[in-house]
Amino acid sequence: MIARARLAIGLVALVAGRMGQAEPALPPPYAGAYQPQGVDEQGLWALMDEEERRFAQSDMVMREAALQAYVTKVLCDTVGADRCGATRVYIVRVPVFNASMSPNGLMQVYSGLLLRVHSEAELGAVLGHEFGHFEARHSLEQLKTQRSSGDVMAWAFVLANMAPSYDVVRAYRNLQLTIIGNFYRFGRNQEREADGLGIGYLNSSALRPQAAAQVWERLMSEFTADARAKGLKKPRFDRIPFYATHPPEAERAATLTLLARPDAATRDDGAARYRAALAPWLPQLLEDQIKLNDFGASEFIIQSLAESGWTAPLWHARGELYRMRGAPRDLVHAAQFYAQAIALDDTHAEAHRGLGLSLLKSGQTAPGQQALRRYLALKPDAPDAKLIGMMIPKEVPAP
């Protein structure tokens, strides 16, 4: 009983000590050439500055000046030119849906995100969310919360050890769960705040804010399609697991729909501009996605990109997806898809290659070799030219 009382007193004292610290108002981190304030912020920024030195030279970064400039432009269009100057945008070649923001203004945009959004407004919604983390100094608050949580837990651990009775151990475990749960809830609330800031930027930009919810609706459809392809149960988008770092997708979509300015629904979302700007990189983004060996999600992404019209790269990607899975029935479909790509663009060398390989594998030797010949004619210096040449009898010199 005494031990429990001591534990309680200790905790009350700790919590009171934390609450007594009043935070002075800080200027926004993008204002002018902002310099971090206070030891914690300075420490975080210095740590990330050092990390950025390394990260900027990483091979994961896509050094495509035009693409980088375009994504930066979308960020500036969303949050405003006065704000976006405080960030450095790095596009990293990671084929998953994500983006991240460091406290010092280092923004990472994953290539998988570029593949999954369909317009400047949708991209802006995600970039605005990340910028919201930066403007609201979420990493700093996260560090402080983590520190105070850890401090309380460490003291409670010591106090609980002073009287390790059954009741005290149970009280300690409950406290531990409460603190961890609170910490994750704190993180989710930061995400909600960032969502609110992000949609706020979109509302006051020239882009269509309704696009923000579309991102989440399409992502939920992708997860559903993926689960269906794997024979899994339909995923739930409304539950909050204990360790969830983000609010559930359905909640985010609903909130963003509500917060989008209704009179802005007629604005341009920049879908055509986005498609045109991304066109040079689309084949690579699709290739990276297909190599994830995630059939359901890849098929969904290709289909949803094709809603605005099938193109040769999309047909080719679909052919690759089926040919990579490689069941006999897939090869039949793959050959059809490659043929569609060739019908749209007869000079698409890789489509001829895929068609030839699919046909050869399904036993149609003559048309297969014909397609491979066409591939080599279109791309004589292809890296696999010798390998492909061996599949065409005429091209092999007599021994």
Partner: protein
């Protein structure tokens, strides 16, 4: 799938195991961490005062304060001080050894990527040495025989010769230090913990240093120490730290610190 992560996700992952970490700090024996190991490549000798030029790549220096709960709070000022003091101490000690230290020139474009790649590669190789060769019980089956024969054969490959500044130097030196100074709260916790019968450690002081041949890329010497001395935030402390890091440097005539203040050095593997 964690959509819209921010960098704090790493910290979150840490917190989710924080309970376990506190427990670990409490019961974690220091016997495993108290080891210092170093090794020299067979056949490599560097006579004292041989006047070699050593290229120092940007040392990895991180100084933090350890919160009561054991979280590393990064400290910019301390890190800056440590970086300056360690650099100065390194120049001075190598001068005593008869070697010249040059800092790697600022690199741009392709060169900068080469440097970054080699820093990462050295990190991976030295981690592998520490993991699989220095400490008994975790050795790779394919390295067991080498260990018995006292062989130390690791390399970064001949591409190190393309590093900017490599043509003016004989060897490249890599340095890494990671410090967390226990906060007042952490020390209080340690004291109260001792009364309650829970042993907490306060502070983390790790360091490693490695020498690489700039012609062949071979790792010539590596020293790793998980419990280093010297307060890197001050000039004297940084001198002590660098002296400890260079303790078994080939051709070294650096006197060791007084044995009482010293972690006993492990034998050569």
């Amino acid at each position: 799938m964690l959509p819209f992560l921010k960098w704090g996700h790493v910290m979150r992952a840490i917190l989710s195991v924080l309970g376990a970490a506190i427990l670990y700090c409490a019961i974690g024996s220091s016997s495993l961490q108290a080891q210092e190991r170093s090794a020299v490549r067979q056949g490599f000798v560097l006579p004292p005062q041989s006047g070699k030029t050593i290229l120092v790549l940007r040392p990895s220096v991180r100084v933090a304060e350890q919160s009561t709960g054991g979280l590393a709070e990064p400290r910019a000022e301390w890190t800056d001080q440590a970086r300056a003091h360690i650099g100065a101490a390194l120049v001075e000690l190598q001068r005593q050894l008869g070697n010249t230290v040059i800092a790697a020139p600022e690199a741009y474009g392709e060169d900068a990527r080469t440097v970054a790649e080699h820093l990462a590669l050295f990190g991976a190789v030295s981690d592998a040495v520490v993991q699989y060769q220095f400490f008994v019980g975790n050795r790779l089956p394919t390295k067991k025989r080498d260990n018995k024969a006292g062989q130390f054969d690791w390399s970064l490959g001949p591409d190190v010769a393309k590093l900017p500044g490599a043509e003016q130097a004989d060897y490249a030196l890599f340095l890494h230090t990671d410090d967390q100074f226990g906060s007042t709260g952490r020390k209080m916790l340690q004291i109260v913990g001792a009364i309650a019968g829970v042993g907490f450690t306060s502070g983390v002081h790790k360091g490693s240093a490695g020498l690489v041949d700039l012609k062949t890329g071979d790792l010539l010497w590596l020293n790793a120490d998980f419990q280093m001395g010297g307060d890197v935030r001050e000039a004297d402390g940084a001198m002590k730290r660098v002296r400890q890091l260079l303790e078994d440097f080939p051709g070294s005539a650096i006197p060791r610190d007084a044995p009482s203040a010293e972690t006993p050095s492990g034998g050569k593997p």
